[in-house]
């Protein structure tokens, strides 16, 4: 019938279709229904961020808190947590998450090609990417247990050991100069697929991408060993690991190899070490920039910029790639500039690179808070699609669990609740960031005065970053570009 459809009445709409921005989802997939935060709330949030920054500074003027160590509570004292820490619970979680990985690949490859009818896009972009990020930041490093790439390799290695007495890995020493660079490269590729390819919601591509990533991960593990690759090359272990540094629960090895879960102050994990490896600092900046870029692409400002760039360049993906690279570049440049100013302001101290590496992690709470604010309604509303999809993962009109006809409830979260949550999250994130940076400064600079002075440029950066985050959520959603 389409051959015969070559009638004039299609020509015009399709021409418009070809030229006008397509409605699409820069953030991987799905629709956003957020209302822009009203101006009064936005200004209140910004004013609070500035005012509270001075409160934090005031606290430090009276004397820096002990920089080393933080109080923890051993949660494993209580039975429910002890059960969680049992190897058997971790094992069953690994079995489930491995099955879900297989499901994503299978549904993506053979299920319907309609993004909303196939479980793969919803499971990957909403439940996993947004959902696991939430849990990592607010609970603890769950990816360490969930990671199905790791679980399957671990299982295969265990099996190989049983059969041949040897592991699967060559256990080559991981070159120190590689640092986290493989993870940086893989994360950049992943972020490009999510935000700039315009094709992230296509089940087939998603399945192939997942499969490709699994093969790379297993190859890395086979050469350098599981642990080494998880530290340096597994992009999501690094990403969720960075987010989980904020989390209130940490896992520690206890007596007799038992895992013990400890409660700690939120954000304390960001202070765990001094300067991080340059590759980790770059990874953090890249991650932060993609979160901000995702928000930026839904603003009217970007919509007009996009139209201009698209007219000049002609390719949607090219414009998106430039936007993404530009945002990442801006983050690196502004961080570098801030580090240089910190050195000037403190009249000495570590060099520019070392300063950036020392303070990169302190920006994480701001990104995290913005991420939580930006995705909250999206996760609650779009996430519900997993309920019907669980009954019909391939889009083949199945009804395995009887939930195939579930209708998404768009009224679960009211706009006013979402607004207040967003402002409170962003302001809290800002305060934690300023706090963390000050503690870091207290241990980095020789005198309290130098530490304080070093913080002025960083404080300016943080206020600016927070205000940009607030500004984005105060913009009407305008989704352009496929």
């Amino acid at each position: 019938m389409h051959r015969l459809f070559r009638s004039a009445r299609w020509a015009l709409p399709l021409l418009v279709l070809a030229l006008a921005p397509l409605p699409a989802q820069a953030h991987g997939f799905g629709q956003r229904y957020d209302l822009p935060v009203p101006l009064t709330l936005y200004l209140t949030g910004a004013a609070l961020a500035v005012a509270l920054s001075f409160v934090v500074i005031g606290l430090f003027v009276r004397g820096a808190p002990s920089a080393h160590g933080y109080p923890t509570v051993d949660l494993t004292r209580w039975l429910p947590f002890r059960l969680l820490a049992y190897p058997a619970s971790a094992f069953s979680v690994r079995v489930v998450s491995s099955a879900l990985l297989v499901l994503v690949v299978a549904a993506g490859l053979v299920g319907t090609t309609a993004a909303m009818g196939n479980i793969a896009p919803t499971l990957v972009w909403i439940i996993w990417w947004v959902g696991v990020a939430y849990v990592s930041a607010l609970v603890g490093d769950v990816w360490r247990v969930l990671n199905p790439f790791d679980a399957l390799f671990r299982g295969a290695e265990g099996l190989a050991r049983q059969l041949t007495g040897e592991g699967l890995s060559l256990e080559r020493p991981y070159p120190a100069r590689l640092g986290h660079w493989p993870a940086v490269a893989l994360f950049a590729l992943f972020a490009w697929f999510e935000l700039a390819s315009g094709r992230a919601a296509e089940p087939r591509l998603l399945a192939l991408g997942t499969l490709g990533y699994a093969l790379i991960t297993w190859a890395g593990m086979a050469v350098y060993g599981r642990e080494a690759w998880l530290r340096g090359g597994e992009a999501f272990a690094v990403a969720f690991g960075v987010l989980a540094r904020f989390a209130p629960i940490e896992a520690r090895a206890g007596d007799g190899g038992r895992t013990r879960l400890h409660l700690r102050p939120p954000g304390a994990g960001l202070l765990a070490e001094g300067p991080v490896h340059l590759s980790l600092a770059v990874f953090v900046l890249l991650m932060l920039s993609t979160v901000t870029y995702d928000g930026l692409t839904a603003t009217p400002l970007w919509a007009s910029l996009f139209t201009t760039l698209h007219d000049a360049l002609g390719s949607v993906s090219l414009v998106l790639t430039l936007g993404m690279a530009g945002t990442a570049g801006a983050f690196v440049a502004v961080t570098g500039l801030t580090a240089a100013l910190m050195r000037l302001s403190a009249r000495g101290g570590p060099g520019v690179g070392l300063t950036a590496r020392t303070f990169a992690l302190s920006l994480v709470p701001i990104a995290l808070a913005y991420h939580l604010a930006h995705y909250f309604t999206y996760l609650i509303t779009q996430g519900q699609f997993i309920i019907p999809l669980a009954s019909d993962p391939f889009g083949w009109d199945w009804n395995l669990l009887g939930s195939a006809n579930y209708k998404v409830n768009i009224g679960l979260v009211g706009a006013r609740f979402a607004w207040v949550l967003a402002i409170v999250a962003i302001v809290t994130g800002h305060v934690v960031a300023v706090f963390v940076a000050h503690v870091q400064a207290a241990r980095t600079y020789p005198t309290a005065l130098a530490a304080l002075r070093s913080q002025y440029p960083l404080l300016a950066l943080m206020v600016g970053y927070t205000v940009v985050s607030l500004w984005i959520i105060a913009q009407p959603i305008m989704e352009v570009v496929g």
Partner: protein, 251 residues
Amino acid sequence: MSNPSRPIASVLLASLALLLAACGGGGAPEHLTFEVTIANGALASPHATLTAHQGDTVTLVVNADEALTFHLHGYDEEHEVMPNMPTTIKFVADATGSFPFVMHIGAHSHDDGAGTCEATLPAGAPAPQLHLSAVADAQTGMVMASVEVEHFVLGEGDGSIASGHWHLMADGATVGMYMEPSATVMLEPGVHELVATLSDDAHCEYPVSASASVIVGEGAAIGEGMAMDEQDHAVETESEVNLGRLDVLPR
């Protein structure tokens, strides 16, 4: 760490109270009517953002110059819209948010369903009659197909006789559906068998059809093949065109 964080916590709590106080509101639910006009594949009415408050009863009157599917996301109101026939969508805006409304063009969902149900005549109404004629323009390849109907109203009827629109098929494939008695379509050179049927608003067909043959000459211009193929592809992969958003603000 717990000591210095106490003043921060209290400032945060105070600000939270302030924030809650800042979000005022009130007023009684209203009935709101918005006209949404679609022409040449884009929104033609002046406002792309429609604003309502939670609890309002919203009526959208959708007018289009071609057959399409109108879809309000979130509330998931999906309606077939006939050319030049206002379609009314009414619902209570009980959830807050900013909900995009789009149109789907191309593979219409009702193409699959066409002919699967039978329209019922109003009680005592005579069976509709249908005649089809078609002429081809040798230069352009455009075919003008016209129908004459009896005991049938193209458009909204008064319920005393059958009413609705007509579907045109060429060589067994649906070409379009129309409210006007004539339609212009472009066909490839060759002989084509055209069939017209009558349907009610729900695309259920009346048990009547008419056919006609038409010859399109070799010299007819049929557009650029490549471009058309790409467009066909776009049609098949269910394309959406963004029209605007409905903002439902908290009351």
